[in-house]
């Protein structure tokens, strides 16, 4: 299927908002931008839907909010627009294009046009084959870091955007801005989720 046909079928060329299963009737009261009014600062239509779809697959809504519920995609668009210089912007754009070109070559169409099963296959393959982050110490990674590819970079950004959103950071994770003391060996059962700060 060619790119144009996919965009037509998914309603993108008409400017209508694409509705993924968990994107229906999103809870949107927390931030100023309503998803229906979102005009990406950096992404074009195809790019934004590629990223939104990826994020929704990596961190879907469960009993807790998902990545799209906390507008992680809208935030990532802003990060690319406002913190990346031209070179990095061109690079990330080229990576999204290459990701879609690869989907098309192997499975016949760009990512958002694929069936759910095929999209899962794409992510499973990316998980199995892509490089991983070295651990970090005090702000820098240790050892020689291999280049992290598009998929795991986006996954990492998605987690960052998700964990640092107010909804997750304050209400889902263990939010303790002023602990007051250090308790060095606490039963995990008394703490539950990871610390958000």
């Amino acid at each position: 299927m060619d790119r144009r046909k996919v965009l037509q079928q998914t309603g993108l060329l008409a400017g209508a908002s694409i509705l993924m299963p968990s994107m229906v009737s999103l809870f949107q009261s927390c931030e100023t931008v309503n998803r229906s009014d979102w005009k990406p600062l950096f992404f074009n239509v195809e790019e934004s839907h590629t990223i939104s779809t990826l994020l929704d697959m990596i961190l879907p809504r469960t009993e807790t909010l998902g990545a799209l519920d906390v507008k992680a995609d809208i935030f990532i668009d802003k990060v690319f627009a406002e913190t990346y210089d031209k070179t990095r912007q061109e690079n990330i754009r080229a990576e999204i294009t290459a990701f879609n070109a690869n989907c098309k070559k192997k499975l016949g169409t760009i990512f958002i046009g694929l069936s759910e099963a095929d999209r899962n296959k794409v992510l499973q393959e990316a998980e199995a084959t892509s490089e991983k982050f070295n651990p970090g110490v005090w702000g820098t990674s240790v050892g020689k870091q291999k280049t992290i590819g598009f998929y795991r970079s986006i996954k990492s950004m998605a987690i960052w955007a998700y964990f640092t959103s107010e909804e997750i950071g304050e209400k889902v994770l263990n939010y303790d801005p002023n602990p007051g003391s250090y308790e060095p060996c606490k039963p995990l059962s008394e703490v539950d989720n990871r610390s958000s700060l």
């Binding site: 998902g66 913190t83 955007a161």
Partner: protein, 566 residues
């Protein structure tokens, strides 16, 4: 807190001038003011008043528009600093403007600067350790560099003096190579660190692991609050729980009524009077108006941070001192040192999955030096030694887990696996050819010559680093960690942010710049007590020694003034 007196217009003449208000400058100001000297502190940057000027101290990530991210313009402004990995929106305002203050790296060197009242005392690591005679005798024993003009007994009372005021928490170990401070109660090790400590001390005779000794209060002290375990120190602490000039030394200096602090004052040079054979004042440039102004005083403390201090001395040329003030020896600008950085090992820890911790402790573990401390521990591969910092925490990078979707998402809301790391800090020898020089081809925003830095780690430091990594891996293996990664990021000097040397103390004016009381040999009313004065680098963090050496020099200065010797 009372506002600071920043009006330096009424009075051009003072008893003392202190250049810089960081860790050592703040101490100099406090000691001199408390001893009754009318003191002018010249600060290159703006006033940063405790609490008032900590705009990010309570911000959560979502309170910042880009959650801590910097725009390309902000990154350009900090194009050097940013290599450290520490510069974000939460601290950006405390890091110097690299674009306005360029320097040239003949060899790679990261020069981190904090151009504001308090300097890098707002940003430092707070690790505070006494040096020992192992350090003060090292040059004399192995013949590298020149002998220190002081020994531990000379500085010991001054360690005690500054510790009691600053508040240092830690555990006494009674080790000769790492003397104990006057400690507030230590912070606690978490359960993984306790486990690792037990194994290391059992498997390796002579090695100890302890909680970091730090300038963080673990109980209220001198009117300051104790650490609340937020680990947001670098934004400025609302409780004044860590040592900074802003929270600790400058307020009491101000309370004496003897302090004037003039912001936006770039010291261009010291004024040397050929007839009186001493320095009579300083020339400054107001960084906002570009106005050139002269201030006069009986004594001058130069505490601009190691390299900036030496830059000022080098720029202070006169008929008597054609190559920079006090530079008869030709050693001014030479013997630059820093600790090696980011060499060690990391691994995963099994068996503590049901344990976590509450609070974010701004501290880790410390493994004191254990090589070349006596005949038994002597290495045939290198001289001097290293210590380790590190820690255990629940980390893991959820992006690395080969999974996605509903179960994955729910799983990463839980704490990740326990990890433990140690990273070494090795001593760097004083090499004459590790040096800085004035660069008249690259000028700063105010038309002043900048610095060219030409320094590198050499064979001995590389041998130390090799040993650090081997030992780190071996220790973590013996402890039983999994997935151990050894690392050496091969950072050039500067990353340790322990710049030392370039105006060293020594016994002989022919081979050193300063005497045993930090006076310029040939201009005895000038004192240098920041990193520039250091004769060797030890392997332990130097800031506590700067504090002690400064208080000692200030005491000497006032005593010499009273005797009319200077």
């Amino acid at each position: 807190m009372a506002n600071f007196n920043i009006d330096a217009k009424k009075n051009m003449v003072y008893d003392a001038i202190v250049i810089g208000s960081g860790i050592s400058g703040g101490w100099a100001a406090k000691e001199l003011c408390e001893k009754g000297l009318k003191t002018l502190v010249l600060e290159r940057g703006r006033i940063v008043e405790h609490l008032v000027d900590y705009p990010t101290m309570n911000l959560d990530p979502w309170d910042m528009e880009l959650r801590g991210g910097l725009t390309p313009d902000e990154k350009d402004k900090h194009y050097k600093n940013i290599r450290s990995g520490w510069v974000g929106k939460n601290t950006e305002h405390f890091w110097a403007d690299d674009a306005a203050n360029p320097y040239t790296e003949k060899k790679p060197f990261l020069w981190l600067r904090g151009h504001q009242m308090g300097g890098k005392s707002l940003l430092w690591g707070k690790q505070t350790y006494r040096w020992s005679d192992l350090d003060f005798e090292a040059n004399a024993k192995d013949g590298n560099g020149v002998d220190w003009p002081i020994r531990y007994k000379d500085i010991e009372p001054w360690y005690t003096y500054v510790e009691k005021f600053a508040g240092i928490s830690g555990e006494a170990l009674n080790l000769p190579q790492l003397p104990d401070s006057h400690f507030l109660p230590p912070m606690e090790l978490n359960c993984v660190e306790k486990h690792v400590k037990g194994r290391i001390e059992k498997e390796f005779l002579g090695r100890n692991m302890t909680i970091g000794r730090v300038a963080h209060l673990t109980q209220p002290h001198n009117g300051r609050g104790q650490c609340q375990y937020r680990n947001r120190c670098n934004r400025g602490c609302p409780f004044g729980a860590y040592f900074s000039s802003n929270a600790v030394t400058l307020p009491p200096a101000n309370a004496t009524g003897n302090l004037t602090i003039r912001p936006y004052s770039i010291v261009q040079s010291l004024i040397y009077d050929e007839a009186k054979k001493k320095v009579t004042g300083v020339r400054i440039i107001d960084s906002e108006t570009n106005e050139a102004i002269e201030y006069f005083s009986k004594i001058v403390f130069v505490n601009a941070s190691a390299l900036s201090t030496t830059q000022i001395l080098m720029n202070s040329k006169s008929n008597r001192f054609e190559n920079g003030l006090g530079n008869d020896s030709g050693e001014l600008g030479h013997n630059l040192m820093d600790h090696t950085y980011r060499v060690g090992a990391m691994g995963k820890v099994d068996g503590f999955d049901d344990k976590y911790y509450k609070g974010r402790r701004p501290n880790g573990i410390y493994i004191p030096r254990y090589v070349n401390i006596d005949e038994k521990s002597k290495s045939d591969k290198f001289v001097r030694g290293f210590g380790f910092q590190g820690g255990g925490f629940r980390g893991g990078n959820p992006a690395n887990i080969e999974s996605f979707g509903a179960d994955y998402k729910d799983s990463i809301l839980k704490p990740g696996p326990w990890e433990f790391f140690i990273t070494g800090f090795a001593e760097c020898l004083p090499y004459h050819d590790n040096q800085i020089s004035l660069n008249n081809d690259v000028l700063d925003k105010w038309g002043q010559p900048t610095l060219t830095i030409d320094a590198e780690f050499k064979v001995n430091e590389k041998a130390l680093n090799k040993q650090i990594q081997e030992d780190a891996i071996e220790m973590l293996q013996k402890v039983g960690l999994k997935d151990i990664i050894g690392f050496d990021n091969e950072h050039p000097p500067g990353y340790g942010v322990h710049e030392m040397g370039t105006a060293r103390m020594g016994r002989d004016p022919k081979t050193s710049v300063l005497n045993g009381f930090n006076q310029v040999h040939t201009a005895k009313n000038v004192f240098v007590t920041d990193g520039a004065c250091m004769t060797s680098s030890s392997c332990v963090n130097p800031s506590l020694t700067y504090m002690a050496i400064t208080a000692r020099a200030a005491n000497h200065a006032v005593s010499e003034l009273k005797k009319l010797n200077i």
